[in-house]
Amino acid sequence: MRPTDELTAAERRELIASMRPEDAEGVPALGELDVPAALREQIETAMARYPQLRSAAIPALWAVQRHYGWCTPQGVREAAAVMGVTPAYLEAVATFYDLIATSPIGRHRILVCHNISCWMNGADELLGAFCDAAGADRDDADQHGASSADGEFFVKGFECLGACDIAPMASIDQRYYGPLEAADAVAAIEALRDGEEPLSDKALALRPAAGGPDPSATERAPDAEGHDA
């Protein structure tokens, strides 16, 4: 769409005539859409979990993203139909969050923290290494995120992911890894390309302290105030 001031009167009339009442996006009729059964089930499960239907917006969008790789307009419309809300409502939620993609992104998502702790520990080099290994544009990655041309990777500089103790760190497909060096970036990308688990030795979730597979690990009970001891 072009700004109307750049159009001739005839073009403007044409543009306006192209906007049809049926193009307005109200709540889509579920019967008119072919929502994939698995997607529908995930969304309905999420809806059942909350007293307020709208609380399921994020899980629903997440399910769409898992299903289509990103929140495609069609996917958002399907989720809206299942939830009985307008796609616009879901789009407002989706565009608010960085982790919900409303344009196509690479298959593996690598978020490199570049906030203060990680930055002091070499985040810029790490981000650069990930970009180079994946084939993503460095400048873009630092701003809005960048995908590799082959569509395999999406790399984005991110704000503090709350894991400063393992700075510099990155989140790869929803898992935290750190501390990382440039060489780890190359290894991680290679592993992902080969369809393997990346950097298992640096995965936060696999550490004993995180309840990882260390037989000697004992579970720590939260104290009376609910803090971890």
Binding site: M19, D23, A24, R77, P87, A88
Partner: protein
């Protein structure tokens, strides 16, 4: 309406102020003539949100500055609005709002009437420290064919988005993205098209949302405001015409909480272009050629004199009370004919009983009702502003809504229960509901009554629906919004009689409860009250029985009637059996039409008088809840258009019936003298806000209106449907409905034309499957050899066995089908 609130006293900037307890500080301060600047505060949108921080003030005893828009007053509060701290925060907020604002006032439509300009001047620092580049958006973009958006000017106050979410509940308009990228938009850049979306233009405190039709047309110092009432539908919203050089350039809301709660629908807001349309009839015409008034009046007088009592008149909904009164007087007084009716014809006795003052609910009663029953109408199509009103009542959690209708309504989603009866079965359903409610009432009083399923007929599902509906209705605390079209057709009288029975069983003749009838025509109620009803004169006075619509048509066909006068009425397009009307008008010896535009009915007319537009008219109309409202002329008459009341009075005089009415106030006085429940009313008393006649002392003079024969049971006789009404597998029952945009107003306003619906046939998905039809298929809906082409729309909320077509579309009009219940849907 609301109980008197207790008062509190506070001090604002040293001035003692008395205000309602619970009022927000910003409103209370006005009582002391103190203005606190606001951006996001707009009570019409619901509770305050405190989003913009423009209204910060200092309150003694509270360390931090407080938002005056969301702080309720307390007794003894001491408030300062001009301390250094407050001034500093105000100028900081203004500076912040202007950080990204383009300040393109010289080319901005809002310039001169812009709250941002005013507040920046009044409370801003005067200078900005910002040297960074501002946000840039491509602009202006069409948000819809009627509204353009300039996102650079937007100050992110959320008003438009709140309107879409919380008032219209269409939720198409959203705030997308976050932080510095936030902007107002829609899903995937789809247009925002919804029946009330024009309100966002008026809500926007800056020039971010502008009206396509008003862009660059005028500056505030070029224009005059002229208050009147929109008579494009029965909502009768209060409007303010923006007039420049004697042309209406814009229509704004003139907030009247008792009528419209400050909103307009898009028809009312953008439907003014027809006033200056080139296609308007602006001169009298005799036999197809232009004529002067003298010649035209002589011609009409002569023809009517010879037709005499063999004359009939049909009065359309846009007609004012004065015009309606004069036309009935012309017929009854000058011609001795009793054949006068409006398009909102009801049986006279029922009309009288339904108008009973203690039974009538006022629009604001919807706000406080505990339950609302919408029956036989879809407010969105027939009285749009009540759709918003009912939504608000539900949203505020006070009312439970139940909907009983043949066709799905826009309000179904918010309803606790819905019952869907088949087209033509309203009488059966309402009888079941009345029986169920009566039964419940008697059970409450200890006497067992009849159960709903004892109602004769095959209405087992009526009984079930009636039970569900009745279970939600609170005696004495219910408002029923019913479509007066329930009174149409063979079962019509019985349907309305049952409705009255429901009202009685629910004790609705109490304050805060009652019924509101939704007429088809904007002034349907007023026209009946001033005597445009066969068998009832002004004030429902007994009058000789006359022909109603069907018998007028028949009389014209049989040659028993010679002449028909159409006052703002186009029966061929708007009444059932259009072809029958076309034939009747063709056969009539004389057709006289008062019309603003050429249409199928004026084509048959021998003499055409040009009609005034509503912006030119002076007079009164009566809202469906009994509120008399004043129409005031905003612009002069174009061409050779004369006030219709004058034309009718003059005609009477030529026919030897002097009315003595020489002005609109005199007409009002005459009506007030004849309609007992309007007694003494004057234009001054009606004023700018209107007055409900039920709330005036004169209403008590008509207690007999309410005197309903005790326990007059509904006559069940015409409940027995003829066999054509039985539902069988391959026969579908046809219902028709008036769609919001299927009317002449849409066609006559260039800007609205895109909304005119193409004929659509709605079916339940199960019927679609059985007939092998999918949404979007082109089909023909046939009945008795006549067909209408339509596109299929399967609708899950439709009742199986029923199909619906739209009335009064410009092409493929459902009214072109014979008045037949059974149809076939065929794929050509």
């Amino acid at each position: 309406m609301s109980a008197e609130r207790s008062k509190v006293t506070l001090v604002v900037d040293g001035v003692e102020v008395t205000a309602d307890d619970g009022a927000m500080l910003v409103d209370a301060a006005k009582e002391g003539d103190v203005e606190i600047p606001v951006f996001c505060y707009e009570p019409k949108l619901g509770g305050p949100v405190g989003a913009c921080r423009m209204c910060l003030v200092e309150i003694e005893g509270i360390p931090k500055l407080q938002t005056a828009c969301s702080t309720p007053v307390r007794d003894g509060m001491v408030v300062y609005t001009r301390t250094d701290r407050v001034i500093e925060s105000q100028s900081a907020v203004v500076e912040f709002l202007l950080v990204n604002h383009p300040l393109d006032c010289p080319v901005c439509d809002k310039g001169g009437e812009c709250p941002l300009q005013d507040i920046a001047m009044g409370w801003g620092p005067g200078r900005s420290r910002m040297t960074e580049p501002k946000r840039h958006f491509r602009k202006p973009m069409p948000l819809s064919p009627l509204v353009r958006i300039d996102r650079e000017r937007c100050i992110l106050c959320y008003r438009c988005v709140r309107f879409s979410q919380d008032v219209a509940e269409d939720e198409q308009l959203q705030l997308l993205e976050r932080g510095a990228s936030s902007h107002v938009g829609t899903f995937d850049d789809h247009p925002y098209i919804a029946p009330f979306h024009g309100n966002i233009i008026e809500l926007c405190p800056v020039g971010a949302l502008t009206a396509e039709a008003y862009r660059f047309r005028a500056r505030p110092w070029d224009i005059e405001d002229s208050g009147s009432v929109c008579t494009l539908c029965p909502s009768q919203c209060n409007v303010m015409f923006t007039v420049r050089d004697e042309h209406v350039q814009r229509v704004l809301a003139r907030d009247n909480d008792d009528v419209d709660a400050g909103w307009l629908c898009d028809k009312g807001r953008f439907g003014f272009q027809m006033i200056t349309s080139e296609e308007r009839i602006v001169e009298p015409r005799v036999g197809g050629s232009r004529a002067g008034w003298e010649a035209a009046l002589d011609a009409v007088a002569e023809r009517l004199r010879s037709a005499g009592e063999r004359t009939a008149a049909i009065v359309g909904g846009q007609t004012s009370n004065e015009e309606g009164y004069l036309i009935q007087r012309l017929l009854r007084g000058a011609l001795g004919s009793a054949n006068i009716t409006s398009v909102d014809e009801l049986e006279a006795g029922l009309a009288r009983r339904l108008a009973a003052p203690e039974l009538g609910a006022a629009v604001p009663d919807l706000d406080a009702a505990e339950s609302i029953l919408v029956v036989g109408t879809d407010p969105l199509n027939s009285i749009p502003i009540l759709d918003l009103r009912i939504r608000r009542a539900i949203r505020q959690g006070r009312a439970r809504l139940v909907v009983a209708s043949e066709r799905p309504t826009a309000l179904d989603g918010g309803a606790e229960e819905t019952a869907r009866y088949a087209p033509g079965d309203a009488a059966g359903f309402l009888a079941a509901l009345a029986a169920e409610l009566g039964n419940r009432r008697q059970a409450g009083a200890g006497t067992p009554g009849r159960a709903a399923d004892e109602v004769p007929g095959d209405g087992s599902d009526w009984a079930e629906g009636a039970r569900r509906i009745a279970g939600e209705l609170r005696p004495g605390k219910t408002v029923i919004v019913y479509g007066e079209r329930l009174g149409r057709g063979p079962g019509g009288d019985s349907a309305l009689a049952s409705l009255l029975e429901c009202a009685r069983a629910l004790d609705l003749a109490t304050a805060g409860a009652g019924v509101i009838g939704v007429p088809e025509g904007a002034n349907g109620r007023g026209l009946r009250e001033v005597g445009c009803l066969p068998g009832a004169g002004p004030g429902f006075a007994e009058a000789p029985a006359g022909r109603g619509l069907d018998r007028i048509k028949q009389g014209l066909l049989d040659g028993e009637l010679d002449a028909v006068v159409l006052v703002h009425a186009d029966p061929i397009r708007n009444l059932p059996d259009g072809p029958g009307w076309a034939e009747a008008l063709r056969r009539a010896r004389t057709v006289i039409a008062v019309s603003a535009f050429d249409d199928a009915s004026t084509e048959t007319a021998d003499i055409v008088f040009p009609a005034e537009s509503y912006a030119e008219k002076e007079g009164t109309v009566t809202h469906p809840d009994g509120r008399l409202q004043r129409l005031r002329p905003a612009v002069p008459h174009p061409g050779n258009v004369h006030p219709i009341w004058q034309v009718l009075a003059e005609l009477g005089a030529r026919l030897g019936h002097e009315t003595g009415i020489g002005s609109v106030p005199e007409a009002v006085a005459t009506i007030a003298a004849e309609v007992p429940f309007y007694a003494g009313i004057t234009p001054e008393e009606i004023g700018g806000r209107g007055v409900r006649w039920q709330e005036r002392p004169a209403a008590s003079a008509v207690a007999e209106l309410a005197a309903v024969p005790p326990e007059q049971r509904t006559s069940r006789t015409n409940l027995d449907r003829d066999d054509s009404g039985t539902l069988t597998a391959d026969r579908l029952r046809l219902g028709t409905y008036p769609a919001l945009w299927a009317d002449e107003i849409t066609d006559r306003n260039v800007a609205l034309r895109f909304l005119a619906p193409a004929q659509t046939v709605e079916l339940a998905p199960s019927d679609g499957e059985r007939l092998g039809l999918a949404s979007g298929d082109e089909v023909e809906v046939r009945s008795n050899g006549t067909g209408v082409r339509a596109r299929v729309a399967l609708n899950e909320r439709m009742r199986p066995g029923a199909v619906f077509l739209i009335e009064a579309t410009a092409a493929e009009n459902a009214n072109a089908l014979p008045a037949e219940l059974n149809v076939e849907v065929i794929k050509p």
